[in-house]
Symmetry: C2
Subunit: 359 residues, 2 copies
């Protein structure tokens, strides 16, 4: 049994399972990050990867937003590139740029030499951080990994990209090689997520942030089967799995069909439309535009309430942003959002929780 | 009467009006550009803005893809920033970056000092180019302008942006100032497009490329009314107006509701879905992923045919990419696409042209 099931605050896990909860749960993608002065101070001494490698410090950073913002879930502080290193590809994380690979993956041999690593051997510090947190946190802990398309895009392009020319060209010109790469990535990430869950994560999120650059057809044929296999690989653990990317409005029905428990939605798709596309067998997570946090509080409040009203029209809803918190965000604005989400009365939504649940 | 109506090749204009045509018409966004060695050679001597300011050279560049690719429409060679200069804001076009403003627009006075210019006075060379082309081209000429959100985003951010923080913050925090800015931009661009049409453009496209960064609600309240006013301002001229942006899947129904004649679609939204959203009162244009042009010809052909099959399921369809041609594209691939589009038999689609039309 892991922490989340016994936690005082289990509304996040209840919402993932589309069960009624006392309040709408809320957490933020990148809720531990540069917007927080304490985090910025830590980063004066430690790089992001330094923090990931020091379980006590990493646990402290992971917990900071739980204490400061009052969010209903913690997410492991890490980076989707951490396991890419464990697969045998060197990279650096460059400030204001992102991951930059030492040698981009382009050839047959590059795929062949990727290691489907043993998490306990290759990334013991990640699992140590999770064990530490699972005992101490007052809320469930979310583990995570990058999605196969998104990881492949960094590996192949050599860094962030606007158009994914090399990635899509490999996919179109060498579908056999592409499938081998996707298989290795999805197998490695499923194994990594399994280890995180076994160490104490109560849920996991797959960040396939850039998969929305694909057409529906390309996603269905070249990515979805691999995501489905990841979901199937994790199914026996019976913890919620969230699948998320930006620009994915057209992919939402297929996202729901991967076996995901929760589908993350960016701010472009209103949540009532997202619900029509995903059906009623998954929960939804999202989708305030992160830039709304720069608006005056009274304007921000209206934006938050609009999202809440659309999100709570059907059971299974977790408030979040439509993408990560921006570094220049004011911490006080995030605090306000949590307050407003928790003050929102789901009883006024068409699907109120039962009386017992609210007592 | 303008050229396009008498042109030998009028299938582009017929498709805009949802009338049957002998073949599916095709043109490409950025069809005059760096993929063409002759263009690259011209750019060794002239900057992009130099070309725009020299009517004969500009007409030659505009015509190049018509002769080389066999496309069914020409689009004026220019840049959406050209009229921004005429409004009184200085900028430069930086290679591999895009437009960079000398002073970003941020304050009340900056909006107040923008000029709604007289096109014949401020940009005579653009209109001279169009007059020159309208007499000589064997296909209709498409004029264009930037959409109000996209122009505002360059003005406010000071250049290209990933997240439009300053633009959206101004919109949320100062809706009054935002509306004044939108009014000036849409008025100036409507006047500019009117002048282009009067000089001989047979159709115009409004490139609101980045408007898909907005939520549906923000688009409806803060941008759509201004686009509607632009469309209304141009309605008496009775030429097709195309409205286009990327990441706009969620906005397509609203796009159709602006009064546009044709709605441009990026590659993320399958054209049959796009049709469901826009209804039957507009034509559709798009939507091959520009990166597909890097695939081997036999793979590219399948991609082209998939787009054609979805696009021709209802009347009023123009083949195009989902965004501009990338500079590293092979010219021969574009030639192949035009050939395949023209070889496609719309008679096999559920809405074949009438016999008379095909004779």
């Amino acid at each position: 049994m892991r922490n989340g099931d016994f936690a005082v605050n289990n509304r996040f896990l209840r919402a993932c399972r589309r069960e009624p909860a006392d309040r709408v749960p809320v957490w933020f993608m990148r809720q531990a990050g540069r917007y927080d002065p304490e985090y910025r101070q830590i980063r004066e001494t430690y790089t992001l990867l330094d923090i990931c490698r020091e379980p006590e410090l990493c646990a402290r950073v992971t917990r900071m937003p739980v204490d400061k913002l009052g969010v209903d879930a913690a997410i492991l502080f890490s980076d989707i590139m951490v396991p890419v290193g464990a697969m045998g590809m060197s990279f650096s994380l460059q400030e204001n740029v992102g991951p930059v690979m030492e040698h981009p993956l382009r050839a047959e041999e590059d795929v062949a030499s990727l290691r489907v690593f043993e998490p306990e051997e290759a990334l013991p510090y990640v699992l140590a951080t999770i064990r530490h947190l699972a005992k101490a946190l007052p809320v469930p802990l979310i583990g995570f990994a990058g999605g196969p398309f998104t990881l492949a895009s960094y590996m192949i392009e050599g860094g962030p990209s606007r158009d994914y020319v090399h990635t899509k060209t490999l996919m179109l010109a060498r579908p056999d090689l592409w499938d081998r790469l996707m298989s290795k990535l999805s197998q490695a990430m499923a194994r990594y997520l399994r280890a995180q869950i076994q160490a104490g994560a109560s849920a996991v999120q797959i960040f396939d942030s850039w998969v929305g650059s694909l057409s529906v057809h390309a996603f269905r044929v070249r990515v979805k089967p691999h995501v489905q296999r990841m979901m199937a690989d994790l199914a026996d653990l019976r913890v919620p799995v969230i699948y998320f990317g930006v620009h994915t409005g057209e992919l939402l029905a297929d996202f729901a069909d991967t076996g995901a428990t929760v589908v993350g939605v960016d701010w472009r798709t209103p949540l009532d439309r997202a619900r029509q596309r995903v059906g009623t067998s998954v929960a939804l997570q999202g989708n305030l535009d992160p830039v709304s946090l720069f608006a005056p509080p009274e304007v921000l409040r209206r934006e938050v309430e609009t999202v809440l009203e659309l999100g709570t029209q059907s059971p299974g809803y977790i408030f979040n942003l439509g993408h990560g918190v921006k570094p220049s965000t004011d911490l006080a604005q995030l605090q306000r959002v949590v307050e407003w989400v928790h003050a929102f009365d789901p009883a006024n939504s068409p699907y109120p929780p039962s009386k017992e649940e609210r007592a």
